[in-house]
């Protein structure tokens, strides 16, 4: 269970952020999250996975592939979570951080 105070911190970046759980894994749904400058599209629904999944300690899933100036290895495509298809690039952020720190850590992968 993600503390509500941590979700509140995320709402500074994504006002509609909300916690959700599927098959025992905690996520934060981030509707219409603004992506770093230079990304196309620049706004996208995202899903922050707070626990270990598919070999990653935590992960940020995107509703589609975001073309970023950095060019990333989008090694996960059409992964099915909450009956939607999600995409993710290979990027590791250490565990033990608050959700807002995890999110910023993942978004760094899209910055120049």
């Amino acid at each position: 269970m993600i503390p509500e105070a941590h979700i509140d911190e995320l709402r500074a970046l994504c006002p509609e952020a909300r916690a959700c759980t599927e098959a025992g894994i905690d996520y934060v749904f981030l509707p219409s999250l603004r992506l770093p400058a230079g990304c196309n599209p620049d706004v996208m629904d995202c899903l922050l996975c707070m626990g270990a999944r598919d070999g990653y300690e935590n992960r940020l899933f995107f509703a589609g592939v975001a073309n970023a100036p950095t060019g990333r290895n989008w090694n996960t495509q059409n992964v099915r979570i909450f009956e939607r298809n999600w995409f993710a690039y290979s990027w590791r952020v250490p565990n033990g951080l608050r959700p807002i720190e995890l999110l910023i850590g993942h978004l760094k992968g899209l910055r120049l």
Binding site: A23, A52, D54, G55, N75, N78, V79, R80
Partner: protein, 263 residues
């Protein structure tokens, strides 16, 4: 019951009707799924949904049932090969093909009474189980692997039945963070995994046996899951001890884990 099914009439007075009216989905029409499709056609399944994005390649011909050298040249889709075989055996059957990843055709999958997973990664199996449990659909997984031990190849495989409400792949110890992590580390480096026709055939046959048992209840067994281990070197199938130690009720999917989520 028509003459076609008199030899399997011991499955019950309603068995032909139950099989004819059932919808079965096969996800993955490679070495395992093609065997499953062939046998489902023979037992009289009336409606199948076939999912696979790939076309036949030369390296598939050692095991893909129904595939021909001409199909390699024509790059025939695997779902088309399975469809062709199915209707050749059972012309009255309704066959729907989806030459895409199942995630891109998720709505049709919901219609299935049983889904058979012939996928070759743990991550893919995890996603499929989560999705089909939402729609109260039993899932049967088959898979095989070849390990080298002291330079000797050992072939093993498994057939697992996951029924909503009963223990899931994680409860049964089949899906673990450890094997998902190892698989992720090997991403892109695995190459073509070793596969042979005869062991795929054994696993597929057991899976079809489970489908028929689920639909007809002919053995009157009361089971909430199944986990069978296949030693393909010794040609022996045994029930996994993990089944005995699994919780009676799933600890990963809540009882109200039903239907489409509201995000």
């Amino acid at each position: 019951m028509t003459d076609q099914y008199t030899r399997q009439s011991f499955l019950g007075a309603r068995s032909a009707e139950l099989l004819q009216n059932a919808t079965i989905a096969i996800v993955g029409l490679g070495g395992g799924g093609s065997h499953v499709a062939q046998q489902l056609a023979h037992v009289g399944i009336g409606r199948v949904l076939l999912f696979d994005p790939d076309s036949l390649e030369l390296s598939n011909l050692n095991r893909l049932i129904g595939g021909t050298a001409a199909d390699v040249g024509a790059r025939t889709e695997k779902v088309e090969i399975a469809r062709r075989m199915f209707v050749a055996i059972n012309p009255a059957a309704e066959v729907h093909t989806y030459a895409v990843q199942w995630q891109l055709a998720a709505e049709p999958l919901r219609e299935a009474d049983v889904v058979i997973s012939c996928l070759d990664s743990y991550a893919a199996r995890q996603d499929l189980e989560v999705s089909v449990r939402r729609f109260l659909t039993p899932l049967i997984d088959i898979g095989m692997d070849v390990h080298l031990v002291n330079e000797q190849a050992h072939m093993t495989g498994q057939v697992i039945l996951s029924v909503p409400g009963g223990p899931c792949f994680r409860c049964l110890g089949f899906l673990t963070e450890e094997n998902l992590r190892r698989e992720a580390e090997l991403y892109g480096a695995a190459g073509g995994r070793p596969q042979v026709v005869w062991s795929n055939g054994v696993l597929a046959s057991v899976a079809v046996g489970l489908v028929v048992e689920l639909l007809t209840g002919w053995q009157r067994r009361r089971f909430r899951a199944e986990y069978l281990h296949f030693d393909a070197n010794e040609h022996v199938i045994t029930r996994s001890p993990r089944l005995e130690y699994a919780p009676k009720h799933c600890t990963h999917f809540a009882a109200d884990f039903v239907g489409e989520p509201v995000l």
